[in-house]
């Protein structure tokens, strides 16, 4: 178990040394620019704009990082042969995969926490106080982290058998398709016969990112039900666990170049 922790923290260290966290600077510039702008021109919709824009940026920045780092996690180590001296130690292959997963999600959590502080600071700047409904913003951020969990496990899965470029294409397509998962399920329900079976299967197989996106609701100060929180938590954990298992199964059988 401790080896998983060592691998995870080394993955985190790599991200930090590769200056991944510098994206926070871009985020800060974007957000403060937007906050100052809406503070000057709009009446009453400052909150809406800041929450919408802030959370969307948190999500997109994270998605880009998850895909960019995730696709290289395994394939880069095989390509550069840095894995040889790791796997010839008492490190099991599953420990390596799981360690990498936690390293990447850890990086994203740290990144998201920093961004969240920024979002709340911008909110305070435009509306001068916090209100009770702001707690739903925390829930939206939590859902965004759950999205990252799924996305990291998927990029890791792709990274364990295909090239970085293909992994990026797969992961990004799945992210886009998954963002319309609920619509897909709706369409599938309307078709008939064999098509219905296939469409339903596909609709349920893609990760349901749309249920994890509540940015619109919280921007309009709507409450999020406890049921949805429980459902999403269970869903994200189960989905990423399965993707990680898949990655491990593939990686266990791989010959290193």
């Amino acid at each position: 178990m401790s080896r998983v922790v060592h691998i995870a923290s080394n993955t985190f260290r790599e991200a930090v040394r590769d200056r991944v966290l510098y994206n926070l600077v871009a985020f800060a510039v974007l957000l403060s620019g937007a906050a100052i702008l809406v503070g000057q021109i709009s009446i009453d919709i400052e909150r809406l704009v800041v929450v919408n824009l802030g959370l969307t940026a948190v999500s997109l920045f994270g998605v880009v990082i998850a895909i960019f780092i995730g696709i290289g996690l395994v394939s880069k180590e095989i390509e550069k042969r840095t894995l040889y001296t790791v796997l010839s130690r008492p490190v099991r292959r599953w420990e390596f995969i799981v360690g990498k997963f936690f390293g990447l999600t850890g990086t994203l959590v740290v990144n998201t926490v920093c961004m969240a502080i920024g979002v709340f600071a911008a909110l305070l700047y435009v509306s001068h106080k916090f209100q009770a409904s702001d707690r739903w913003i925390l829930v939206a951020l939590y859902f965004i982290v759950l999205q990252f969990l799924i996305l990291c496990s998927l990029t890791l899965l792709f990274s364990s058998f295909s090239s970085p470029l293909l992994s990026a294409v797969f992961a990004f397509s799945l992210f886009v398709i998954g963002s319309f998962a609920e619509d897909l399920r709706g369409f599938a329900g309307m078709s008939h016969g064999l098509t219905q079976g296939l469409a339903t299967g596909a609709a349920y197989l893609v990760p349901n990112f749309s249920a994890l996106n509540v940015i619109g609701q919280v921007a309009h100060e709507q409450a999020i039900s406890g049921r949805l929180i429980a459902y999403n938590t269970g869903y994200a954990l189960a989905y990423s666990a399965m993707a990680i298992c898949g990655a491990v199964l593939i990686f266990e059988r791989r010959n290193l170049k």
């Binding site: 080394n10 260290r13 840095t82 040889y84």
Partner: protein, 313 residues
């Protein structure tokens, strides 16, 4: 119990776009290395040395057969804690410093926390990287990386050490140091299994060597015995413009250029040849051994047509 044992270990890679074409990298290999032995694994480029080492490390999966290290399956974590591995042309996480890398590896190998720092400092000193301990590995030269590679292979005090071309990329001092280091490992009773192209190193260091070619074991045995079975050659150069009569019977190859004659002949005929020169009052310019006998043995095995390896033990 053998330190290293392979039983019909074989590997065929699938190549080509559809992975249909087989490429045999290693034919069923049976090898046993005793504990405390220094074992040299010789063979030309593409012979299958690295493939064998990767199979032993569990980095590639065999298409047939098995391997055991210290009597246990190579996949057991317990075994992995007892071995050290230096890959060929090693490459490491280049965002880490030498010291950080060794720290990370020491953790993965389960080195006790209280011993860790002491061991790492001593190891950096031993491979001559004390000054560069805090430099990121991306700024390291090839030979420096090789040194880091050696350090990480023996850092956790493994019982069996696998080195894939340990001397490559090193300057003359570095080679000398690696030789000393391997001698030291032997003194400590460790088993060392290493591949190399440098036959003089193998001759100087090994208890036993194996020669493989095209994935096939061509010969194996004690260095002393192998070299006794094949004689080396010497090269003689003297002044003259015609080959003396007696030379044809000595199995010599002679070349005349200007007023010097160069002859390559078996070491055993050296005295007879010198005698002829003395008798003819010819002036000897130089006399040098051209091939060590291990080299002769190696070339004989590699150039011979494929046949089952004769086991000479």
């Amino acid at each position: 119990m053998f330190a290293i044992e392979t039983i019909n270990l074989e590997k065929t890679y699938a190549v080509g776009f559809w992975r249909k074409k087989p490429r045999v990298a290693l034919r069923p290999l049976n090898l046993a290395v005793e504990e405390g032995e220094v074992f040299g694994f010789l063979g030309p480029n593409g012979a299958g040395k690295t493939t064998t080492l990767k199979l032993l490390m569990g980095l590639v999966l065999p298409t047939g057969g098995t391997a055991r290290i210290l009597g246990k399956s190579i996949n057991e974590a317990e075994v992995k804690a007892q071995i050290g591995f230096l890959p060929e042309q090693p490459y490491f996480y280049d965002y880490l410093t030498a010291k950080e890398l060794l720290e990370y590896y020491a953790r993965l190998s389960g080195v006790e926390p209280k011993e860790r720092t002491g061991k790492i400092d001593a190891m950096l000193e031993r491979v001559g990287l004390k000054e560069s301990a805090h430099v990121q590995l991306r700024k390291f030269s090839k030979g420096m990386l090789q040194r880091v590679g050696l350090a990480q292979a023996i850092l956790h005090d493994p019982k069996v050490v696998f080195l894939d071309e340990p001397m490559s990329g090193l300057d003359p001092t570095g080679r000398r140091e690696v030789r000393d280091l391997m001698e030291e490992l032997k003194q400590q009773g460790k088993t060392v299994f290493f591949s190399t192209h440098i036959l003089s190193d193998a001759e100087a260091l090994c208890d036993r060597v194996a020669v493989i070619h095209r994935g096939e074991l061509r010969g194996i045995g004690r260095v002393a015995e192998l070299t006794a079975s094949v004689a080396g050659k010497v090269e003689m150069i003297w002044n003259g413009n015609a080959v003396p009569a007696g030379f044809s019977g000595l199995g010599a190859e002679c070349h005349i250029s200007g007023d010097t004659i160069r002859a390559a002949l078996p070491e055993a005929q050296q005295e007879a040849a010198l005698e002829i020169l003395r008798r003819e009052r010819l002036r000897l310019i130089s006399l040098t051994p051209v091939r060590s006998s291990l080299e002769e043995y190696y070339l004989q095995k590699v150039n011979s047509a494929a046949k089952p390896a004769g086991v000479a033990q």
